[in-house]
């Protein structure tokens, strides 16, 4: 499948090393020069946080006997929306505009940034307040605002912690879950000039409340994302906990929401599904403290100007592939991150992507038309825990395998890739296994050739050339004198239907490891 490359969607904000390399650094005992925090502490924090959320999530999903029916409905509504995405976007645009809102369309990150600057220009703000938004991170908005002399102030507590620490978010529901309270205390004490601040979470939260209150009351422009857009009412739905979202949506004169085109739902009524599944999946709460749903600019209640920027930035081509289209059903609950054994060990930074964890592993490379982050589809053991917890039934393992095959095809299409050792080895294996005569012939040949390599204990301890990568850290059992196929042939060929001996050919067993 061919996808067009889109200019400007690269985000300079994130490096793109391969997952194994980035994970190794994230897990190293010594932090890299650019990381403010010690890694062993980070790993403890990530494990603690994901364990806590996961346990709460399991409890509140188990108590709802209609949970599976809600997942089915959620998956069906999102799949239906994606099949008619253009229709519902146009319906949203018409209804939202009718109520005084303004819709802008951004085909890529650069256009979205330019639109934000154009909307801001007549108001010439020195500061803007921000609600946690993944799309802002995706288009690298904060760096762009700073370049233009506008200071973005993150108002979500975790985002504020990340911003003050010059760090990166590591989780898209709890971006600072890798940071401990002692580390937060040090950041706040410095930034808010409160040297006597304690590390009790109550005091830290009170400090953030005091620090941000005046900003909420006086800053004229806010920037947000949105959880859902509603086609039938032109509605926007924002789900949050702290009240910083409501502050940003109701107090400033101007509000700009940057929203991925896939976020639309057909009807207001559809929220009855997602306002049950999202909070329970995301934070393990039956309902998060605040949900706001409104459209346009209601008289006297909220901003006088409300802009929605519909962001494509690599989403529309994903619709073309029927197998991986389900990626766009995602409602960003991050349950798959908390459930993932790989994320549990590495934390979010190892993915080097705005979207971390299992969903990030399938979304990020597709947003880049498979031209970046090709190692992420391999950052999984395919255990399926992500699929099991997903509230919109995205079969992440299925998509991971699908994307892996695309990565392989991509590599095969280049000269260096097709002549690369890995491809040659796989092609040879495919050639041998495709035919019922070739494989036994190859095994017989290998049985004869291996003798020089087999040591006295029956293991191969050294292999030449690139194969030494395997034997450097482990021994390889030698091929047995009789292969399984030969044994099967000998004992169960057409004229001997009876069972072979009680002990099937002990020589061919590879279980006798001597480690």
């Amino acid at each position: 499948m061919k996808r067009e490359t889109q200019p400007g969607q690269q985000n300079q904000h994130w490096n793109r090393r391969d997952f194994p390399e980035a994970a190794r650094q994230a897990l190293a005992a010594q932090p890299a020069a650019d990381s403010p925090f010690e890694h062993s502490q980070t790993r403890r924090n990530v494990r603690h946080a994901t364990d806590v959320i996961q346990a709460k999530r399991n409890a509140v999903t188990a108590e709802l006997h209609e949970w599976q029916a809600l997942r089915r409905a959620g998956a069906a509504i999102r799949a239906h929306t994606l099949e008619h995405l253009d229709h519902y976007l146009l319906e949203f645009e018409a209804n939202y505009t009718r109520r005084g809102g303004r819709v802008h369309w951004a085909s890529d990150a650069a256009e979205a940034r330019r639109l934000v600057l154009e909307i801001l220009a007549p108001h010439a703000p020195r500061e803007v307040i921000k609600v946690k938004t993944m799309t802002s991170e995706e288009i690298g908005l904060n760096a762009c605002l700073e370049d233009h002399g506008i200071r973005p102030i993150e108002t979500d507590l975790a985002e504020l912690i990340v911003q003050l620490g010059h760090d990166r978010p590591s989780h898209f529901v709890a971006p600072a879950l890798h940071i401990s309270r002692g580390q937060v205390r040090d950041l706040f004490a410095r930034a808010m000039r409160q040297p006597n601040l304690t590390d009790s979470p109550d005091d830290l939260v009170a400090a953030a409340r005091g620090y941000l209150r005046q900003k909420f009351l006086t800053t004229p422009v806010a920037i947000s994302g949105a959880n859902f857009l509603l086609a039938d009412t032109g509605g926007v739905c924002i789900v949050e906990s702290e009240g910083n979202g409501r502050m940003c949506l109701t107090l400033p004169d101007v509000l700009i929401s940057i929203v991925g085109i896939e976020k639309v739902l057909p009807r207001f009524q559809d929220l009855e599904v997602f306002l049950q599944t999202l909070p329970r999946s995301a934070t393990g709460e039956r309902m998060n403290p605040y949900n706001s749903i409104w459209s346009g600019t209601p008289t006297g209640d909220g901003p006088r100007e409300f802009h929605v920027i519909l962001l494509d930035n690599g989403r529309s081509p994903i619709l073309a592939d029927e197998e991986s289209r389900q990626t766009l059903r995602c409602i960003r609950c991050a349950a798959c991150l908390n459930a993932c054994p790989v994320y549990h060990q590495t934390g979010g930074h190892a993915y080097e992507s705005v979207y971390a964890g299992p969903i990030g592993a399938i979304l990020t490379p597709q947003l880049h038309s498979m031209h970046a982050a090709q190692s992420l589809p391999y950052a999984s053991s395919l255990c399926g825990a992500c699929y099991e917890v997903c509230p919109v039934e995205i079969n992440i393992p299925e998509v991971l395998i699908h994307l892996r095959s695309q990565v392989v095809q991509q590599q095969q299409s280049t000269l260096t890739g097709s002549l690369g050792l890995w491809n040659l080895a796989m092609q040879s294996a495919a050639f041998l296994m495709r035919d019922s005569h070739r494989l036994p012939a190859a095994v017989h040949l290998a049985q004869r050739l291996q003798s020089a390599l087999v040591s006295r204990n029956g293991f191969i301890e050294w292999l030449p050339g690139p194969l030494s990568g395997w034997t450097k850290t482990r021994d390889l059992p030698a091929l047995p004198a009789e292969s399984f196929r030969d044994w099967w042939q000998r004992t169960r060929s057409a004229n001997s239907p009876s069972s072979p001996g009680a002990h099937p050919n002990p020589e061919s067993s590879t279980e006798q490891r001597h480690d």
């Binding site: 057909p266 998060n288 409104w294």
Partner: protein, 225 residues
């Protein structure tokens, strides 16, 4: 001169139509018919009995650290509010009062206290109000949620956000069991706020802390009717 915006709009719509293997023009046509066939078998739950419903609502409010008082009739609202004001004034080092939106029925308000009108207040003035009193549109037992919509008794959305104390009057007839029942009662065209407990965060080591930017105290007055 071409407008870059209309170009991007068309570009995105074309990309979507191409990816879905359709004509762009088809998008503007009538609503997709298969929407009606989407599975909705989660709606099978039968509404709980009133007593169970109320108990569940009280349990949820308790878990959120919200306070709840109950009275037997609408005529007891005013004395209950007077009691709250007295208790709160005694425990607070600074003067305490409740501001009200214009649609609060006068007979809810005890005569011996002042209730400044909240709608005309500037943001700074609102920030100096210690508390706010409102009604609600619907409440949900399963999730312990209060749902407020734009109505004269529920006020502008900022009224229940900026002051540090929110007292909300809920009638038992407004209480439903589960989220879908609430949606059936809401007007989709009004600005809507779901409030489930006082504002909170768990961003620091997953410890739930009550009261970040919204009201740190949420009181519910549940009225039998």
């Amino acid at each position: 001169m071409t407008n870059p915006q209309s170009n991007s709009r068309q570009l995105i719509l074309d990309r979507i139509a191409a990816a879905l293997g359709r004509d762009t023009a088809a998008a503007a046509s009538a609503a997709p018919a298969d929407y009606a066939a989407l599975p909705r078998d989660y709606q099978t739950a039968t509404p709980a009995q009133p007593a169970q419903r109320i108990q569940k609502f009280l349990d949820r409010l308790h878990e959120y650290n919200a306070e709840c008082m109950r009275v037997g009739s609408e005529s007891e609202i005013a004395p209950a509010i007077a009691a709250t004001l007295t208790t709160r004034s005694q425990s607070s080092p600074t003067p305490f009062w409740l501001a009200v939106p214009s649609g609060i029925p006068p007979h809810w308000l005890p005569a011996s206290f002042d209730f400044p009108l909240a709608d005309p207040l500037t943001l700074d003035e609102l920030n100096r109000q210690p508390g706010i009193l409102t009604a609600c549109s619907v409440a949900i037992a399963e999730t312990g949620s209060l749902v407020l919509q734009s109505a004269p008794s529920q006020g502008l959305r900022r009224l229940t956000l900026v002051p540090d104390f929110h007292l909300c009057v809920v009638f038992e007839s407004q209480l439903v069991s589960a989220v879908p029942e609430a949606f059936a009662r809401l007007n989709p065209d009004l600005p809507t706020t779901f409030i489930s407990g006082p504002s909170a965060t768990a961003d620091i080591e997953m410890t739930r802390i009550k009261g970040v930017h919204g009201p740190r105290s949420l009181h519910v007055l549940l009225v039998a009717d």
